[in-house]
C-alpha cells in the first residue's frame, strides 16, 4: 500500500482500534453472565441493592455537583479576576491522577488526617483520632467529594474549549442589553450553544463517576463497596467460581450506567423545555446573580483548597518524621520513607513511564494521521465517529476490561507490557484527539496553499510547516495522553494480570495498609510524572522557538 493509501485508511483504523476492544471486551465479559445460576447467585448477595444504590448515588450526585459548579463558575464569574485565579489554579490539577487525588483527600479527611490535626485539640478536644467514619463513610460522601474534585477541572476545561464557537461575549452583551441577569443570560443564550460539544464529556463523567474503582477503593465505603469495586474484588479473586457472578454484576453495572445516561438524556430534554418556557416568561433573573456569584466562587475556591491541601498532604507525609496525632506538623522532615520505598518505586516508575510513553506515542501518531488524512483528503468526520471515539470513555470499564483481559490471557499476551500499553491506548487516544483536534483544525489553511504554491509536497507541508507550527498543541495533547496513561488503574490491573506494577496500581494497593509515608512517596511520584510531561510540553516549544514571536501562545 502506498503511504497515501495508508494515510487515507488511518481514521477507519483508529475508530476500529477504539470500537473493537470495547465491543469484544463487552461480549467477553458478559458471556459468563448467562451461565446458569450466575444471576441467581448475584441476587443472593445481600450487598447488591446497597452496592447498586451507591453506584447510582455517588455517580449522579458527583456529576450533578461538578456540572453545576462548572456551569456556575463560567456563567457567574467568567471574565472576572476570581475566575481567572480559579481557572489558573484548577488547570494544572487536570494532570493529577485519580488515585493520587483520592489518596491525598483521604489523608486530609481521615479522622487522623490533616484537618482533624489542625483543629485538635484546641477546637475539637480530641487527643486521639476520633472513632468517626468520615472516610469510607457508608453513604459514599467522601467518594462523592473526591469525584467532584477530580471532575470539575475536566469539565471546566472542556467548557472553556467549547466557548469560542458560541460567540459568548456578544451573546452576553445582547442578553445584558435586554435586561437579563448574567447567569440567566448565560444559561439561556450561551449554554444551548456549548452544550452539544460538552455533552459527550458529561456522559463520560457520569459513566466514569458511577464506576470508578480506584477512587472507590480509597474513599468509598467497604461493606458493601460500590458495585464496580466489588466486581473487581470478585474478578481478581483466586476463587474462579465467583467469576460468573462478577460477569452478572458487570451486566447489572452496564444496565445501571445506561439507565443513568438515559436519565441524563431525559433531564436534558426536560431542562431544555423548561428553559424555553422560562425564556418566554421574560423573567430576567437579576437577583440570582447576587447570591450565585459568591456561592460558586466560594465553592470553586474550596475545590482548589481541598486539592491543594490533598497534594501538599501527600508531599508532607512522604517526608514526615515522627508525627503524633494532634500535632499539625511532623516533628521533623526526613528522607527515610523515600529510602525505604526506593527499591519498589524505581521499577514501578519505570514501568509507568514505559507504558505511558508507548501508549502516548502510538496515540499521538494515530491522531496526527487521522487529522492529516482529514486535511489532505477533505474528509469530514460524522457525528457517529465522534461517539465511537467517546465510546471507551462512556462504557463502564468493568463491563469490558475483564473480557479483554480474558482475551489477552487466551492469546498469551496477558501480563505483558505491550498488552497493557495497548489497553491504555484505548483510553489515551480519545483524550489526545480531543485536545488536538481544535488547534489542528484552526491552523490557517492559506499556509498550506502558500507551501504548495512554492512547490512543496503534502509530506513536506506536513513535516516542515504544520508539525512545527503546531508543536505546542501537539506536545500538550501528548502530555494529556501521558497523564491519562499514568493514571490508569483498572486496565493495568486486569490486563496486566497483577504482574504489571505501576505507581498507580501500587499506590492503590498500598492504600489499605495505611503506611502514609510510603503511600505518599508513590502518590508523589505518580503526580510528578504527568507534571513533568506538561512542563516539557511547555518548555520544549518555548526553547525551540525562543526567537520567534509569532510562535508564542496567543500570537
Amino acid at each position: 500500500m502506498t503511504a497515501d493509501g495508508a494515510l487515507r485508511f488511518a481514521p477507519r483504523l483508529t475508530l476500529l482500534l477504539m470500537a473493537v476492544p470495547v465491543i469484544a471486551g463487552l461480549a467477553g465479559t458478559l458471556r459468563p453472565a448467562f451461565e446458569a445460576g450466575s444471576v441467581a447467585r448475584l441476587l443472593d448477595w445481600p450487598g447488591l441493592p446497597r452496592a447498586m444504590a451507591l453506584s447510582m448515588g455517588t455517580g449522579i450526585a458527583s456529576t450533578v455537583l461538578a456540572l453545576a459548579l462548572t456551569l456556575g463558575l463560567v456563567a457567574a464569574l467568567q471574565g472576572g479576576r476570581l475566575f481567572t485565579l480559579i481557572l489558573r489554579l484548577l488547570s494544572p490539577l487536570l494532570a493529577v491522577p485519580h488515585a493520587a487525588a483520592a489518596l491525598g483527600l483521604a489523608f486530609l479527611l481521615a479522622p487522623s488526617g490533616w484537618i482533624a490535626r489542625a483543629l485538635s485539640p484546641w477546637a475539637t478536644g480530641w487527643t486521639q483520632p476520633p472513632d468517626l467514619l468520615i472516610l469510607n463513610d457508608p453513604a459514599g460522601l467522601a467518594l462523592t467529594a473526591g469525584l467532584v474534585l477530580k471532575e470539575v477541572p475536566f469539565l471546566l476545561l472542556i467548557l472553556i474549549a467549547a466557548l469560542p464557537q458560541a460567540d459568548a461575549p456578544r451573546r452576553l452583551m445582547l442578553m445584558a442589553s435586554l435586561g437579563y441577569g448574567r447567569v440567566a443570560g448565560w444559561m439561556l443564550s450561551v449554554l444551548p450553544a456549548v452544550w452539544p460539544q460538552m455533552r459527550p464529556a458529561v456522559y463520560a463523567v457520569l459513566a466514569y463517576s458511577m464506576t470508578a474503582v480506584d477512587m472507590a477503593i480509597v474513599l468509598g465505603p467497604a461493606l458493601p463497596p460500590t458495585l464496580s469495586a466489588q466486581l473487581v474484588l470478585w474478578m481478581t479473586s483466586p476463587d474462579l467460581s465467583i467469576h460468573p457472578v462478577a460477569a452478572a454484576g458487570a451486566l447489572v453495572q452496564l444496565g445501571l450506567v445506561l439507565a443513568a445516561l438515559a436519565l441524563l438524556r431525559g433531564a436534558e430534554t426536560g431542562l431544555a423545555r423548561l428553559g424555553c418556557r422560562l425564556a418566554l416568561t421574560g423573567i430576567r433573573g437579576i437577583r440570582a446573580d447576587r447570591w450565585l456569584a459568591p456561592v460558586v466562587g466560594g465553592a470553586g475556591l474550596l475545590v482548589v483548597l481541598l486539592m491543594a491541601g490533598s497534594l501538599a498532604g501527600l508531599a508532607l507525609w512522604s517526608f514526615a518524621g515522627p508525627w503524633v496525632f494532634p500535632d499539625a506538623w511532623p516533628q521533623h522532615l526526613e528522607l527515610d520513607a523515600w529510602a525505604r520505598a526506593a527499591p519498589g518505586l524505581g521499577p514501578a516508575a519505570l514501568e509507568t513511564l514505559l507504558l505511558a510513553a508507548l501508549s502516548t506515542a502510538l496515540a499521538t501518531g494515530l491522531v496526527l494521521s487521522c487529522l492529516e488524512a482529514e486535511a489532505r483528503f477533505g474528509l469530514k468526520p460524522g457525528g457517529g465517529a465522534l461517539w465511537l471515539l467517546w465510546l471507551p470513555l462512556i462504557m463502564p470499564q468493568v463491563a469490558f476490561l475483564p473480557g479483554l483481559a480474558e482475551l489477552a490471557l487466551r492469546t498469551g499476551a496477558e501480563g505483558s507490557t505491550g498488552a497493557v500499553a495497548a489497553a491504555h491506548l484505548v483510553f489515551v487516544l480519545p483524550y489526545v484527539f480531543l485536545s488536538l483536534a481544535a488547534p489542528w483544525r484552526a491552523w490557517d489553511p492559506r499556509l498550506a496553499v502558500a507551501g504548495a504554491a512554492l512547490g512543496a509536497t503534502p509530506g513536506r507541508i506536513f513535516w516542515r510547516l504544520r508539525l512545527p507550527m503546531l508543536l505546542r498543541p501537539i506536545l500538550t495533547a501528548a502530555a494529556v495522553g501521558f497523564a491519562v496513561s499514568v493514571g490508569q488503574y483498572l486496565p493495568t490491573l486486569l490486563i496486566g494480570g497483577g504482574r504489571v506494577t505501576t505507581l498507580t496500581t501500587e499506590a492503590v494497593a498500598l492504600s489499605s495498609g495505611g503506611n502514609r509515608r510510603i503511600i505518599g512517596t508513590y502518590a508523589m511520584l505518580q503526580l510528578a510524572l504527568p507534571l513533568l510531561a506538561f512542563a516539557l510540553a511547555l518548555a520544549l516549544p518555548a526553547a525551540l522557538f525562543r526567537n520567534r514571536t509569532g510562535m508564542r501562545p496567543g500570537a
Partner: protein
C-alpha cells in the same frame, strides 16, 4: 507559446456559472480581475491555483508556457501566489522562509544561502536573513513574501488583493515594487482586486470573473 492561457476556464457550483474566463496573459503582463463582493474573484483564483473544493465543477483548460496544468495539484502547477496578508511561516527565520521556496535542484548550503542573500538584497533587505518575521514592518513583510514567491521560479503569479491591507503611503510603494519586478522578471500575472487604482497601476486588461471588460476609469 509562453505565458498563461485561460482557455474557456469555467467554474460552476450547483449548476450556477460563477467563473468564465478566456484570456491570454503574456510574460510581464498583468490581467486584472475586478468585481463586487460575491462576483467570483476568490473562486477564479482557486481555479487557477488548484484549490477548488469538491462542490465546484471545473471545465476548460489552464495552459502555462504551453503546458496544460489544469488537472495538476497546486504544487506541480508552477503558479505562485501572494495573499492579502503575507502568510510568512512564523516558525522560520526570514532566510528560512526564502530557502523553503528555493527549488531543490539548487544544491549546496552555500549556494542556497547565496541565493537567499541575493533575493534579500534585491528587495532592499540585505542582512535580514536571520530576522524573526514577526519583528518586520508591514512593508518589509510584504517584500519578503514577494521574494519568497519569486524564488520558487513560478511560471505565473497570482495576486490576491495583496495591497489592500497596507496603509495608503506604503501601498503605492509596494505596488510599484511588485509590478516592476513582475515586468522585469517577465512573469505573467493575474491580479484580483476591488480597488480601481490597483487595476489602473497594473496597466493590463481589466475583466470581471465572467470575462466581461470592466471600466476602471477615474
Amino acid at each position: 507559446m509562453s505565458g498563461l492561457v485561460l482557455d474557456r476556464l469555467e467554474v460552476r457550483a450547483k449548476g450556477k456559472m460563477i467563473v468564465a474566463l478566456t484570456a491570454v496573459v503574456k510574460p510581464g503582463e498583468v490581467l486584472t480581475i475586478m468585481g463586487p463582493s460575491g462576483s467570483g474573484k476568490s473562486t477564479a483564483l482557486a481555479a487557477i491555483i488548484g484549490t477548488l473544493g469538491p462542490e465546484f465543477s471545473l471545465s476548460g483548460r489552464l495552459v502555462l508556457d504551453g503546458r496544460d496544468v489544469t488537472g495538476l495539484p497546486t504544487r506541480a502547477r508552477g503558479v505562485g501566489i501572494l495573499f492579502q496578508d503575507d502568510v510568512l511561516f512564523p516558525h522560520l527565520s526570514v532566510g528560512g522562509n526564502l530557502a523553503f521556496a528555493l527549488p531543490p535542484a539548487l544544491q549546496g548550503r552555500k549556494a542556497r544561502r547565496a541565493a537567499v542573500e541575493a533575493a534579500l538584497a534585491k528587495a532592499g533587505l540585505a542582512g535580514f536573513a536571520d530576522r524573526d518575521p514577526a519583528t518586520l514592518s508591514g512593508g518589509e513583510r510584504a517584500r519578503v513574501a514577494l521574494m519568497r514567491t519569486l524564488l520558487a521560479e513560478p511560471g505565473a503569479l497570482l495576486l490576491d488583493e495583496p495591497f489592500s491591507r497596507l496603509d495608503a503611503g506604503l501601498r503605492d510603494r509596494i505596488r510599484t515594487f511588485v509590478l516592476d519586478l513582475i515586468r522585469a522578471e517577465r512573469i505573467p500575472a493575474v491580479l484580483v482586486t476591488h480597488q480601481p487604482e490597483d487595476a489602473r497601476a497594473a496597466g493590463g486588461r481589466i475583466i470581471d470573473p465572467q470575462g466581461r471588460p470592466v471600466q476602471a476609469g477615474p
